[in-house]
Amino acid sequence: MMARVGGWFFMVLVFGGLAWGLLSLPEEPPGLAPAAHEALPRSGVSNPVTAVLLNYRAYDTLLEVAVLVLAIVAVWSLRARPATAFAAPASPMLGALLRLLLPLVVLAGGYLLWIGAFAPGGAFQGGALLGGAIVLLLLGGMLNHRVLLRTAWLKAGLVVGLTVFIAVGLGTMLAGRSLLEYPETLAGTLILVIEAAALVSIGLTLGALFFGGRPEPDPDTPKGSSRA
């Protein structure tokens, strides 16, 4: 009882401190908006958020894509799951729905990637949609375990985003600029190339994280027959 009251008291105290701190912040701080908008015409894109993510602070995003790879490496080393873990569809309706829905989801993912240069959208939003598509495929029992066991392709897809990102970074350095400092005329193209590769990796990583482990051949099936 005492601990519970103490817990609520502690919570109110934290809330009070945070609220006091937040409300005493300046009403209209200068922020970085003027600087971000001023450099926008030279960034290769017209959406300021994409400009921050893939141009001004591309180094942050490079490390973020690395975090995705790290997460999947950690999850795969902790746990292996039989590739048939999701073989049975969660619901018979799902298959029929997915046949209609999946092409649209993939199309919307590609659209989000493209529109990211001009409006809210980008590789992460598109990747989230692709990840959702993979989750639905798994739940619908539509991802054949043979597909899951082609880990060479899966691994290549998981790291392609980071690889392309690093390659572009090294390329700019070889051209005598600093890391990820794109030439103005190529900026838009390079951003789209990085985002397209990142889209694949993000979608696959989210799907693979949902699968929850390294896919391994089913222990019940005889060796050799499970590998296509």
Binding site: G7, F15, E27, L32, A33, V49, A71, L206, F210
Partner: protein
Amino acid sequence: MNPDAHTLFLLAGAALFALGLRGVFSRAPLLQRIIAINVMGNGVFLVFITLAARVAGGKTDPVPHAMVLTGIVVAVCATALALTLAERLRALEEEKEKEEQR
């Protein structure tokens, strides 16, 4: 958006953070703790987005937006890793119990 809405969002962010922090300390099941950490994180995101909306000059500050986007992805990865660790822990505990029963 008007300043009143900003105040409301900032207070909601602080409330989410405080609720989540209490959850982390007071809940025993790991799954509930992981959810509590996510509630905390969402409070921080809400505060960040609100601060981005009220910079001077009327234009939204894109830098906090990009940071929140990065934060969401990192939070998803950390949550997936935490869930896998919790699952591994449970499997080890079950193994131990089985051995003790023998």
